[in-house]
Amino acid sequence: MDKKFVSILIALVVILAIIVLGVYLIDPNLEFPLDRATVPLRFLFVVIGLAIAFAVYLATKENKAWEVGTREVVWMAIGAALYAVFSWLFNGTVFVVPSISQVSLRPAIAIPMFFGYAFGPVVGFFTGAVGNMFGDALTGFGLSPQWSIGNGLVGFISGLPLLFKDKKKSLDTVLIVSGVLTVIGVVVYFVNRSLPNMLFYDVEAGIFGDAPISLIAGISLLIGFVLVVLARFFFGKDIDVATAVTWGALGNILGIGFAAISDIWINGFSPAAAIVGEFLPAAGPNLIFAAILVPLLVVAYGSYRKQSGR
């Protein structure tokens, strides 16, 4: 190991130690800090998210997937702009997307997954993080940088299969890890069924993020996961689609999970409330999109590449 690498590693460990200490010192009791200084905490989680991505990079920095050339720069910009535009258009105020039983549809999430898969982890991360930032700015908000980083991690993890020479080998492990996390999420839901779905608003029915979470929203993660497994085996021969879907699913679970879990400290939710109220209603429907829209994009991109010879 060269000197530079060691020094970066030490710096990273020190930063992480400070962060861990900081989290305990700032908020040991998990009180509701809505009107207290949550700004440093938000940025703390931004740093943690970046540190995670950076650690993965350091561990595999010899790999070609990390190279950023002209193409990557342009793809990053396209991905981020598309994600921003789609999440703005589909946020329910401009272009009404139907929702079923508290599952609000957020199809834009397919963009960071697809860009991560097609163009690598760096492009994926930029697409998710910057796209979410600009998307929030378009609606006039920019208050939750930890969600930007969470979205960035979705794209980042979706891009990790490029690190492997043999894409097929990792698939089953990824699927099992996602499955275990899904089961944990659903079990938490069945233990805490009465918690509110904090992401669900319906003005006409008088529901403002305080209605108990519906069964469909609660098990949407499971539905999504089943769809992912189906897509994985339905497209079993088409390794591209299978890889994109399974890694996208894992990225979604970990990335959204990161953002929801950071809200335990930032907004003072209890761990169960963060998982049932935020993680499940956000990550569940996202998985459904991963299973349906990502294959459409991957297949379309494949035929575009064949046609144009690139």
């Binding site: 702009a81 003005v203 403002f208 459904i288």
Partner: protein
């Protein structure tokens, strides 16, 4: 073809500063606003936003659409808070009832009840001020930042060349893709794609979004080849980048940055000392006989 934001050269307060200085000030302002729920502290912050808006020189007809959208959104949000007290409930311990409305009907044994309390109403007002200030400061940026300066601005803020350029391109692509989306939607409608009647089960509904998302995405990727070629021809990323435009800080820019940092430090200090938490005027509570 690229579509641009509605930037024009204007003689205005916001455009008299270096864009880097303005972005730094904006970030400090954003963070400072987040510390407060107290209307007394939010008022000066809102005054800054209103001052910047009024001196921005952006004509009403230029920003009408964006502005109406955001104002609508802000009121919508404050109204939520007002109706439910959600978000506020944790901040105040007791509520003083002004009036209680009960619906004359009940839905499945649940009777809608609306309690108007001083705390809820005032919390909604505070939230309105908070979100309004943030939104105004945010929408003014595309109107006042010269597209030719995007890249050098982000570079000047310390981002690496490539990331700065990617941010530059992102800001340029957003309005273009918005237009592309509308074109695609119209084209699909002309072919009989019924957006208004997206029906069927969950999976079917999701699948029907494909004809909107896939063409826009693939078109964007195929269009990127031109830009990549143009950049490669100019040897992008070979050496350290030089930028066509140069930005220089002048004295007023340093003053603005200092003001922004001061604002942030003062806000942080006040908030650590326990100021700025949600506050309701005593007068209002006494007025309802609390």
């Amino acid at each position: 073809m690229l579509v641009a934001w509605r930037y024009r050269k204007r003689k205005s307060f916001i455009q008299s500063f270096d864009p880097r200085a303005w972005i730094i000030f904006y970030i400090c302002y954003l963070a400072s606003t987040l510390f407060f729920w107290d209307a007394r502290f939010l008022l000066p912050l809102m005054a800054i936003a209103v001052f910047v808006l009024l001196t921005s020189g952006v004509k009403w007809h230029e920003m009408r659409r964006a502005f109406l959208f955001i104002v609508g959104f802000v009121f919508f949000f404050a109204f939520f808070t007002f109706l439910t007290g959600r978000g506020g409930l944790e901040v105040y311990a007791q509520e003083h009832l002004v009036r209680r409305f009960e619906a004359p009907f009940s839905l499945l044994g649940w009777r809608p009840v609306l309690n108007i309390t001083v705390e809820r109403a005032f919390f909604a007002v505070s939230q309105l001020m908070r979100v309004f200030s943030l939104a105004v400061m945010t929408i003014l940026i595309p109107y006042s930042l010269n597209p030719a300066h995007y890249g050098i601005t982000f570079r000047g803020l310390g981002l690496p060349d490539k990331i700065a350029y990617a941010m530059d391109l992102t800001m340029r692509f957003i309005p273009t893709f918005g237009r592309d989306f509308q074109l695609t939607r119209d084209a699909q409608r002309a072919r009989g794609y019924e957006l208004e009647k997206i029906s069927g089960g969950l999976i079917e509904q999701v699948r029907k979004l494909g004809p909107l998302m896939v063409p826009v995405t693939i078109h964007a990727i195929s269009g990127s080849e031109d830009i990549i070629d143009a950049m490669d021809l100019r040897a992008f990323g070979v050496g350290p980048r030089t930028w066509l435009e140069q930005l220089t800080y002048r004295r007023r820019d340093y003053i603005l940055i200092a003001a922004g940092v001061l604002l942030l430090v003062v806000s942080l200090g006040l908030s650590l000392l326990g100021y700025g938490t949600f506050w309701v005027p005593e007068v209002l509570i006494r007025a309802v006989g609390g």
